[in-house]
Subunit: 448 residues, 3 copies
């Protein structure tokens, strides 16, 4: 099952070593400890060690970290013969992306006197950006080599940082949990990439593009971790105090409501009323995506539940009815259905955020307005204008994601990157040593 | 394997949608952000954002959350053909229960001017109540439809809140980790339900009521997470400072001692000295259950270890000798053996708590008495009276659990809820799409 | 598959009960709550409950706890027929070791007026010591009975505490993440034990000393958890404030760089360019080991990345080229390759720590010097002398580990401990009830 094109003996080491050496050099030139991580700077000021932001961000960071490496990694192990690649390539591109994101995000909005200052907040942001790359990975899962994925990550992280800079810094958009910057961006970027990489003969690998019993259980590890820690994700970089507390709670109730609508819709749309693991693994998470923008706002608990409830419905309907259409009519082969989990719920989240911002009043927010909508609190803009900015930000995000995905998709078509042929997609054995024992088992199962 | 009775096409969507819509309406009418999550209220006061309770409860909350969704969910995947249902129904009923518990617990002991105020502490309490429902789920595992489980959760959460109100508010009982309110209640409620739902012909599904190699490994994920995070569970809602710190540490040593006695007893009670996965997966956790009441008290580290040591012994003996008797003589078909993990260790924990309370002295507790035994510190009762209250609380809990389980058991017998027939218990394929591949594998294995 | 020698019916209960009863007695005589966990002592002082160290150490503790029980436990489930023992014996010996370590570490450096005072910091230290035992377990995995493992743990914990006392207390060595005290010690102790326990006929069990598809996925759960939480491990007991923050961040970047070099080297050293799961599961973690000593120092982010990058390269080369030599020439049968993950990277970490210490200047550390190098800050020694101490500490650690492993290896050879014979190594069925179903499957697979 090895041929010259997909042989990674030189390609993968070359790209890994070159990228890491460039990273090390750029870190050496550009990156410094910030005031909270530098021994000298921290001790210059008169404060308690307990005031270090480490204690107020690091638990959230670790929850996000688990979502990135276990959550995304295991969610994608649902394929019967692609578990090594799912969790393994997820591991590789995430480890690269978080380093590259530190530089790109620092370059666009973290420079202090020509240096990028880093600490736990930049680590969270780097993990966030990585999440976006992993969403795109879900769209192309099983059809790309690790070299292609690293190249995709290289460009996507850069474009992510540009889009994030435009939204958060230039426009003053609020998007703490990244409905737009992370989910919408990652989904539509990935969908455009997979569109450009369209494989007309992919049905030759169709028998491997499905789950087996145990692979679905491994995937549930990913699902449950994403679900549990999404409150930490959405609240990880909001303002301290009530903001972080409220964001976590809104997300908690949005996800709970989403789970009930997902189960209901999954049974309702099946001809025999049986639940579909694909829906449970994915759509039950849409409530977290959809609460990504408005979660920090005064959305109210029942408002959060309505958002989650709708997100679950939309997501299951997308898996059931829209994905087949996208594949047949628009030639978008979306392996994990990221359009249903991140795309549409991301847009829903952006809209909910715009509406919630537009109706914000001083009566509801009081002095807390300055944390949630600083531009409104300072009188720079009024609430309805903020709502307009939020809506415009969705359009900007979609534009950059689609255009970026288009260009990067064509770059990834270069044959040198070692993509698998149409007959051996969704197969670990191309890129991994897989013990013979397993091949024999598979033989027996299929009766080949 | 689908028949009309168990077809969920309409039943599950109807109950999910009705329940969620009722929840949303009740949340809209009754629930508000508390002072720590409301933007306006939080900023009215003069305090640091770092004083928000989020930072002192949320890490514990997330550990509890992992226990509820990963811990309970995966612990029950030990059955060979019931992994989807174990983790999937656990997910569904937990997502419902935590919302309903917010209302019920708020109604009974969280009303402020006609409104329920919520924040991280109510989220922990909601997860705790959910845990009780999941314990009962363990007793009926494999023999109930998801609709039955939602109906059971609806009633059990309500009764849990009533019992909790009687104990914590009316009687002034101390039960931070819920040996009584969570474990004893959940276990005996579930045991009574499964007694009422007794299936005389369950041996027709006997061949599926056992584990296979990989399913036992999945179950160990649940076990280990429950074991690791139990210190967070027992300490999640104790008073801040020494109380939380001490409770976590007592539980840590109780669990460690319990693990050694579990391994010893498991080998001792096997005719060939081989360890039994059922014991390791369950009895090693009994030390956490048994430290649920006294964990916050000055139990001392070695006292905690004695409690854990005894809990492990009792639990293994229960699995080995008592469970078969319960099934044959009392017709209690307890799939997960919750009587051994939650029932008896819960009672042990309640007794240890009563004794530890009764011997509490000002000399040992000093000014810390007001956090552990506020009624004793204020002079309202003396220590031996507090011990008596603790013992009486166990009786109240058992009474409400058994009576509640009796009534709810009969409700669940209504045929409309779609329970599986005796021949297809412990089988995912009734309620879930399961890929054909797996069925073929199973064919080969059994030589059918 | 049961014979008299390996029958655990009496041996395991006897050792478990005796050890636990001794532990309980010694805890009763020697161990007390410290000021932060004692109700009376804590309330004597005038401070906020939020200042309790619980809030600044416990989240790190729980991350470390996950690494010990899930990380180490599942990492070792890669063997096809040894999953129960890997996670189960890991569980048993860790539960024992953390109790015994509380006593030994308390005895050597935690006595206050004849009593050992315990709290969250001693819990972290106990888990650290346990980690060292589990590293040694990796070297002998599949070839030892649970009784042997408990005996090994008993002695190793004791020697660990002696070595730790010499380094941290007598010499003033800095080793927050334990490159020397934990990793180097555990690895070389275990390697010497497995050398003494050399089995010339181990190839009779060779067919079981490998992975199958699903066992490699279970092992990845262990790997990813170790990888994610290593920043918490290295920073768990450093000084509060910038130190903890910086250590976590240095480790984060070291691991990310290590992952890229591991993937590159794994492809480069395979004749067909295919990635090897053994490398990914292990070598990608070497960056955490190698940052164990210098992680708290002003290593700089790019310095951390260089260390991680080198650690990954060394570790893969070790697996590929050194391990076979160690086995053939030196008769060291190192099941998990702990020499490559903990041994060499631990030495690298020690050297990096010595060099980083030797070049420390007041200009870089400012007033933070007192937290990182208290002896340098106080003028007791200068930086280069501190560097020398660090280097000498590595030699001491290697000496105690090798000598200790030698002695303990001979003790473990006593036939009474029930080691498996050469033909049934790496096999759960000796010590665990394993359902017949699985044996049938295995039959089919091997065509036996």
């Amino acid at each position: 099952m090895t041929d010259v094109a997909t042989n990674m003996r030189l390609k993968l080491p070359i790209i890994c070593f070159i990228l890491e050496i460039i990273l090390i050099i750029l870190f050496g030139v550009l990156v410094q400890y910030n005031e909270e991580t530098d021994a000298k700077e921290w001790h210059k000021k008169n404060h308690s060690d307990y005031e270090n932001d480490f204690y107020y961000r690091y638990p959230s960071f670790q929850d996000v970290h688990v979502m990135i490496f276990i959550g995304f990694g295991f969610l994608m192990t649902f394929l019967q013969r692609y578990g090594f690649s799912s969790v393994g390539f997820n591991f590789l591109i995430a480890a690269f992306s978080l380093q590259w994101a530190t530089l790109m995000q620092g370059f666009f909005h973290g420079m202090h006197g020509g240096k990028i200052h880093i600490g736990v907040e930049s680590m969270i942001n780097a993990d966030f950006c990585t999440g976006s790359v992993l969403i795109s990975f879900g769209a192309v899962l099983g059809k790309t080599s690790p070299v292609q994925l690293l190249v995709m990550a290289l460009f996507e992280v850069t474009l992510f940082a540009v889009n994030e800079f435009i939204l958060l810094t230039l426009l003053g958009t609020r998007d703490a949990g990244g409905s737009m910057t992370i989910h919408t961006f990652g989904a539509y970027f990935g969908l455009m990439v997979t569109r450009i990489l369209y494989r007309p003969n992919l049905d030759k690998s169709k028998h491997r593009n499905s789950s087996v019993y145990h692979s679905d259980l491994f995937a549930m590890i990913g699902t449950i971790y994403l679900w549990m820690f999404w409150p930490s994700f959405n609240s990880a970089i909001t303002a301290h105090g009530d903001d972080q507390h409220r964001t976590a709670m809104n997300t908690y109730y949005s996800l709970a409501a989403c789970t009930l609508s997902t189960y209901g819709m999954s049974a309702l749309t099946a001809h025999d009323g049986k639940l579909d693991m694909v829906h449970i693994q994915n759509a039950a998470l849409a409530g977290g995506v959809a609460a990504g923008t408005a979660g920090e706002m005064m959305l109210t608990p029942y408002g959060s539940m309505i958002v989650g409830f709708l997100a679950g419905i939309i997501s299951v309907l997308g898996f059931k009815y829209l994905s087949p259409i996208l594949e047949e009519k628009l030639k978008i082969q979306d392996t994990c259905g990221v359009h249903n989990l991140h795309g549409m719920p991301g847009i829903l989240g952006a809209i909910v955020g715009a509406v919630t911002a537009a109706v914000a009043t001083a009566d509801v927010y009081g002095d807390g307005m300055k944390d949630v909508f600083p531009d409104v609190a300072s009188g720079k803009v009024d609430a309805s204008y903020q709502g307009g900015i939020q809506a415009a930000s969705l359009a900007v995000t979609l534009g950059i994601a689609l255009l970026g995905g288009l260009i990067v998709g064509f770059i990834l078509k270069l044959p040198v990157f070692g993509a698998p042929s149409d007959t051996i997609c969704y197969e670990d054995n191309i890129y991994w040593e897989v013990s013979l024992t397993v091949i024999n088992i598979q033989f027996n199962i299929y009766g080949e």
